[in-house]
Structure formats: structure tokens, C-alpha cells
Point group: C2
Chain length 472, copies 2
């Protein structure tokens, strides 16, 4: 008994996408409501639930359509939320689109990859950066950008250059300060496009970070602090953006997804949909030591429960694929310490290689907490290659995105893995311009839906940072 | 003795456009400082003052270059101003670019012409609209747009359609309410692009404006109230944007340019330039009756004084053209009631046709106050046709612009005149992305300078509205 009620909001005034109502007739029919409070409904016809493997070419995508139909209500809802919560300075969100389900699987508060965005949307980045700076530190004029400690990863350095350019266009004086001990003087690094990037050694003078001849008003971190919070960054009197507790030294995915549960619940009420359509199940296990085989039972038990929960949902929605879950480090990034599991037994019989893979993440940090997260199939593909959308936001504005397109990986695997090579495919159009005269899976409409779900994850990050700030 | 001192602000940190310093050596040399407080300076070499007729193809444009060099300081300055002053919801500013001088000549607080903007920058409009709505009326979801009382001007109707689309994409439910008595039921009007626009009759219920089945939270005026403030709009409890005192029923150009004097003075101090480079002289005359030849002496006296002041400036900067002034109605728009004057005698010997032309403006309103404004040559041209830039802003963000290109008019004439036909030429690039590796007169750099000067006029409008609100 699957349906989405027509939102009350879309009844008021003119509907955004009127064509769609005609196409779908009176009631859209994906989603879920509890059988105990709803009168019996006729079984959803097959055409109302797009067959998964045809998600890109098959019938209308009703979740996306429903999001399109409720654009005014959704934007109004977001406006209200952003009055009460401060968006992070910037973020990127990895999404997975299974056609019937569109969900965030990772939210990065120190996004790389700005060089992968469509250059046509640079003005959007600049405008959003102006908004962000006005809110967070309007008096700041000189920004010190602190990147990751990479000097040879030219992809990453190109991101730093792109980010610096955005900040400069927004009217900041920007210089790049490195935490690397080997950077003892201004060091020019060559970029693939022929440009150069200058890293300078950061010095601490009392409670301020400075470079030679440069007294920044604000520090923008593009370093996720996986290795812990360096002493030099602690107790600064300058603005530090994002705050230190947004770094992986303290951040936990489980806090993020706990906040996302609340956001998804609220949003699902607004749209009268089953929150599961935008929210993957998750659970957390602490006290893990993969090398010592400690904590495997907790993981196995959660995996088992979750696979059953997903199977039930799949039955309800007529999904024929096998459920799977992702086990990954609760702190950390770069897709290290990640495995795809389809049976609880898989996490108990790990061989040495698998244990080694799971035991440490970036910067050699040991993994002692993991989250078990529902796996969401990605059914978007480009010329046979799996494609995963990544959406970029500055302040609370969606400023672009790209697809990670990877031929060597399956629909149920993580696409952001160590050593992995992907081709970035920039979104062609902005995420704010749905086209009501086109089908819901055309690029502008698909991107609008991506932008909405990514902003839900951004809102969750805002709540998460409020919670963890209070706990500091 | 003409020079611009290198701004202190550009000395701190890295300069935006470092190449330019090399090109211009230590000191840029346009602008002015008082001879009484400055030691004697060598006469500016000719190459430092671009010859007017070669403004587009000749030597570097130093005013634009100087603006580019100081981008960080300028954006910082604006951020500080927008913390203290509320930008109007939207505005367009007519600029004139004489190469040596770049100045606003008209600021429209009810801009038409959104249909002339480059559609590539629609996302910028949408993002800026989201910002504007968040600030002014975050709870609003349903917008009533009240356009001018045109039903046959398809150019204008296309603007209304473009504006509605922007508001919809920003997540508003938008309907269009007409003040025309003949609109007694929903009326569909055809647009040149094949789309339609529906005008609906506005009704007042107590202190609220409504349409059938539509209770708007906010009223967006795209009607400049030239004919006075209609009773139906007075004392509404809904948000009215822009406020009624922004309409020509009460607004005066002289208030705007008085505020602009203050803004230009401050900005010129920041950049160490002569404010005249961005500010046209103006003066005001009241108690005018062109038909009765009343008040001509006031106008003639101001014209005479101003032509002498301009001539002095032209001598100082080596400008060889004839000074001219514009006489126009202090209230009103659409370029009615405007004349170009090169000698005071011209305003005293008006023939009947000229008097008729000057005596009334839009909606047949009589002209009783005029402003005399320094004429600024426009030396931009496209295939021999004169081109005047118009910059569009939503909230305090520049969202695009276009050129009015008109073959039948001179460099010293107003290009926004009744019955005038112009070809709009949308700006190719955004106004926020100067390219430091390119010459100052390439499109992105030129547009950045336009965006800066247009925002100065926008800031003046903010001050003006504060002043006139207090006077209400």
C-alpha cells in the first residue's frame, strides 16, 4: 500500500508543475503510510513503481516528481529552517539514486573537488560565498586557507586553486598556509593547467595565525583534521571556519545521520512520504578493534537486523535486488575502512587483508567505531559506467555538482575509495532551475531533486554542529 | 595634476591584479586631489588619460583598472555598508561609460527588462531572490506580483513573465494581480515566445489584497506608481516590496543623487580618486511650469553653472568634447520629459513642441520639478551604434545586465526615450568574475566595474529610502 498524498501545500495557489498532476492523475502513488491509520488502498500498479533497472529510461520517477510538484512548499520549509540554524560555510554531499530512493550517504564539511564543478556556475559560487562571509565574518577581508597536507596530489591542489579563486572573486585577499613542517618558505607548486599555487608556512604569534606580511582575519579550513587538531589551531582568536569540532578528530558520521533522521522525518511529513525514501538506515558500534577481532558481534548483529529491515522495505516497494549494507569507520573520510556486506557472516570471518583494510583510515588513524549503513544502489550510469552524484553547497545555496563516473565498480560499491580513479562529469545545469515542461528525469529536474536532498543533509550537518558544539 | 594614489588597502596582502601594477608602474595616474594639499606633481603623460574616442580600443582604462586592482578592498567596503543598510529588493541602474568616467544616470527601483538578461544567469537571479526573501519576508510563500498597467506592451509583459519565473524558481507561489479596472476576471495574454501570462483582478478584503483562492503573504510591486499611490495599496498589512515611498508618486531623483553624492564621496576616499570620475554633477529646480514658462530662469542658471563646472573638469582631464547637461523631470521614468542642453539659452527659448515634451511624463503627470544633471558621454558602441549598459541587481547582488544598443541616437542623448527602440544585448558574462590575466576592458573586467558602480547607486537608493521613510 504505497502512496504519497498530494501535499496540502501544493493545493494552495498555483501548483509548480501542473503538467505532472495530469500525468499522475489525482494521487501520486509511491511512498508509504502506516496501514493502521489509512483505509485499505488498491495495490499500486506496477507502472507507479519504476522498475529499478529502468530508473533512467522507464516510467516517471515519482519521488523526483513529487519533489518538483512541491517546490514552493519545500523552499518555504528550507527558509524557515535556515532562519533557526546556521548552514556550514561549505559542504559536499555524496548521493545515491536508486530511482525509488534518493539518499545522502556522506556529508563532507571540508569539500575538495571544487575544480570539478562546471565553470559556468562560478558566479553562483562567488555569490554564495559573499553571503556566507557576510553572515560569518563580515569584517574579514584577508583569508588564510589551510589545505590538506598534500603537495603532490595535483587533483587536490587544483581544488585548492579553484577554491582560492572563488574566495578572491568574492573579494577576499587569500593566501594559502600549510601545516606541513617541510614548508619553511613560500613554495610554488605547479598545477596541471599550467598555473601555480603558492604554499606558505603558517606561524603562530600569540593567539593568531599569520604568514609573512599577512595578518588574516579568518582561517578557512580545507583540512578535515583526520590526524587530530594540531596545537597551532587551538584557541585562536581569529574566526576559524568551519569550527574545529567539524573535523574528523571529533566528528562522527553517526551524529550526522542521527541529525539526518530528524531532518528526514520532518521533511517526509511535509511531503507526506515515507522518510525511508530519502533516508538510509544506520546503526553504530563502538569498541571495535578489527585486528583483535573485537566488536565483530555488534557489527554482525546490526548487519543482520538491518538486512532484514531493508528486505522488508524492498518487499513493500517491489524492489527485486539483494539488500546490502556498508560498514565504515564512524570518523574519517576518503572511503578508507569501508566494506560492502550482504550477509552478517561476512563481517565475522575477515581475513588479514580485509582486517588491515578496515583497521585504519586516512593518516593511519585506527578505527574503533564503525557505522553500519543501509546500502543504496546507484542506478545512474553513463555509457555503462556507474555514476554517483556529488552536490556542492556554499552557505545554504547549492552551487553545483558533478558525477563520479567509474567503470570498474559495481552498483553496490562505494565510489570514493582509496586509489580509485573517477572521471568527474560536471552537472550541465544549475540545481535551482527545474523545468516544469520537461520530464522529471531530465537534467534540470533531476538536479533540483539532488539539490533538495543534499540540502537536507546540509541541514543535518547544521544540527549536528550545534549538538557537538554544545558538547564541547 | 591628475592621479590616483595606490590604495592603502591594495598594499596589504596580495594584490588582486598584480599584472596591472607592473603595467602601470608605481602610481596610477588618473583622478584628482586638491592642489592645496598635494605637492606639485609632474603633468600626467597623455597615455595615462585614454583618449575618449578610443576608449574601447585604445590604452588601458585606468578607472576600470583601478577598480580591478582594489577588488578586495571594494568588496569589503560593500560588506560593511550592507550590514548597516538594507538593499532594495531589486533595482536596475543605467550607466554611462565615457572611458575616463563611469557613472550612474538613473536608478530604477521597479525594474523592467528581466527578459533581456542572459538566461545563463538565471541561477544567479534565483539565488539572489532567495537571499532577498529570507531577509525581507522569510515566512512568505505566496507572492502577488503587481505589474504596470500595460496589457499590449509585449516587451513589458515578457519582463513580467521572466520576473515571475525567477520568483517561482526561488520557491514562491506567484500570481499576477492587475490594478486595471478592465481586468475583471482572469485574463490570458499571449507573449511573443508563445507562452501566456495570466492577469487576475486584485481585490481588497479588509487590510489585505487577495485574488480568487489566493491569499498572498507579500506584494511585489513592478509598478512604479507614477500615477500616484492607488487607494487599494495603502495601509496594507501584507509586506509591500519595495515600499510605497519608493514609487514615483513620492520619489525624487534629486534625493537619490543627493544620497549618491555621499556614497561616491566615501567610495572615492577608499580608492583615492576624484569622486567626479564616478559621479555626475546635479542640481534641482522646483516650481517649474514649462507651459507657463515658469521657472526657466532657475534651470538656465543651473545649466550655465554646471556647463562651466564640467568645462573645468574637462580641461583638467584633457577631455576635448563639448560639455552638455540633461534636464529631466525630478519624478518619473521612461525617459519622458528629458532634454539634452549644451547652452543655457536652449532652455529659455523652448518652442511649443519642446514645452509639450517637457511638461508631462508617464501617466500624464505634470512636471513641476526638474533636475539638471551633468551629461556623461557614452563612448561604448557596437558596430557604430551607441550602447548604454544597464545593470540588474536583486538584493545587493549583481545578477546581470544588458546594453541598450541604438543606432539612431547620439553619444550625448538619452537612450531610454519614449517610443525609442533599442536592441538589448545581454552581458555575456557575470559581473562578479573579473579576469586578472586579461586587459581591463575585456568583458568580464568591464562588467565588474559596471557592477561596482551600479552597486554604489544601489547603496544610494538604500540611503534614499531610509531618508524618505523617515520623512513619511
Amino acid at each position: 500500500m504505497n502512496f504519497i498524498e498530494q501535499s496540502n501545500n501544493s493545493r494552495r495557489g498555483h501548483s509548480r508543475c501542473e503538467f505532472s498532476k495530469k500525468a499522475a492523475h489525482a494521487k501520486l502513488t509511491i511512498g508509504k503510510a502506516s496501514a493502521t491509520i489509512q483505509p485499505p488502498q488498491p495495490k499500486t500498479p506496477d507502472r507507479m513503481v519504476p522498475h529499478l533497472t529502468t530508473a533512467l529510461t522507464g516510467p516517471l520517477l515519482y519521488l523526483e516528481q513529487h519533489i518538483l510538484d512541491n517546490q514552493a512548499a519545500i523552499e518555504h520549509w528550507f527558509r524557515g529552517r535556515w532562519l533557526r540554524h546556521n548552514a556550514p560555510f561549505y559542504a559536499s554531499v555524496d548521493l545515491r539514486n536508486a530511482g525509488f530512493k534518493l539518499a545522502p550517504v556522506d556529508t563532507n564539511l571540508f569539500p575538495g573537488g571544487f575544480n570539478n564543478l562546471n565553470p559556468d556556475f562560478l558566479p553562483l559560487c562567488v555569490q554564495a560565498t559573499m553571503s556566507a562571509v557576510e553572515k560569518i565574518c563580515p569584517v574579514a577581508q584577508r583569508f588564510l586557507l589551510i589545505p590538506e597536507n598534500h603537495t603532490r596530489n595535483t587533483f587536490y591542489l587544483s581544488n585548492v586553486a579553484a577554491l582560492s579563486a572563488i574566495l578572491r572573486q568574492a573579494g577576499m585577499n587569500v593566501r594559502i598556509g600549510s601545516l606541513l613542517p617541510e614548508i619553511t618558505a613560500a613554495t610554488r607548486l605547479d598545477l596541471p593547467n599550467g598555473a601555480t599555487l603558492t604554499l606558505e608556512p603558517v606561524k603562530r604569534v600569540d593567539d593568531r595565525l599569520v604568514l609573512d606580511d599577512f595578518e588574516p582575519c579568518a582561517i578557512l579550513l580545507n583540512n578535515d583534521l583526520s590526524a587530530g587538531i594540531p596545537e597551532i589551531l587551538k584557541n585562536l582568536e581569529q574566526f576559524v571556519i568551519p569550527p574545529l569540532h567539524a573535523g574528523w578528530a571529533t566528528r562522527r558520521k553517526s551524529n550526522h545521520f542521527a541529525a539526518y533522521n530528524r531532518v528526514a522525518e520532518d521533511f517526509a511529513k511535509l511531503l507526506h512520504i515515507d522518510p525511508w525514501l530519502i533516508n538510509p538506515f544506520f546503526a553504530q558500534c563502538g569498541h571495535i578493534d578489527f585486528q583483535e577481532r573485537q566488536g565483530e558481534e555488534c557489527v554482525a548483529a546490526h548487519v543482520d537486523d538491518m538486512l532484514q529491515d531493508i528486505a522488508e522495505k524492498y518487499r513493500e516497494y517491489g524492489v527485486e535486488q539483494d539488500p546490502f549494507v556498508i560498514v565504515k569507520a564512524d570518523a574519517g573520510t576518503y572511503g578508507m575502512g569501508i566494506m560492502t556486506v550482504k550477509d552478517a557472516s561476512e563481517v565475522k570471518g575477515l581475513n588479514r587483508k580485509q582486517r588491515n583494510k578496515m583497521a585504519v583510515i586516512k593518516e593511519g588513524q585506527p578505527v574503533s567505531e564503525v557505522i553500519v549503513q543501509e546500502g543504496v544502489y546507484t542506478f545512474e550510469n553513463l555509457n555503462g559506467a556507474v555514476a554517483e552524484p556529488v552536490v556542492y553547497m556554499i552557505d545554504h545555496f547549492v552551487v553545483g555538482g558533478f558525477y563520479r563516473v567509474h567503470t570498474g565498480r559495481g552498483q553496490d560499491e562505494n565510489l570514493n575509495a582509496p586509489g580509485m580513479r573517477f572521471e568527474p562529469l560536471a552537472f550541465q545545469t544549475a540545481c535551482t532551475l527545474p523545468d516544469c515542461s520537461a520530464a522529471p528525469d531530465t537534467a534540470p529536474n533531476r538536479f533540483y531533486a539532488y539539490g533538495v536532498v543534499a540540502r537536507l543533509a546540509l541541514l543535518a550537518a547544521a544540527l549536528e554542529l550545534e549538538d557537538t558544539e554544545a558538547a564541547d
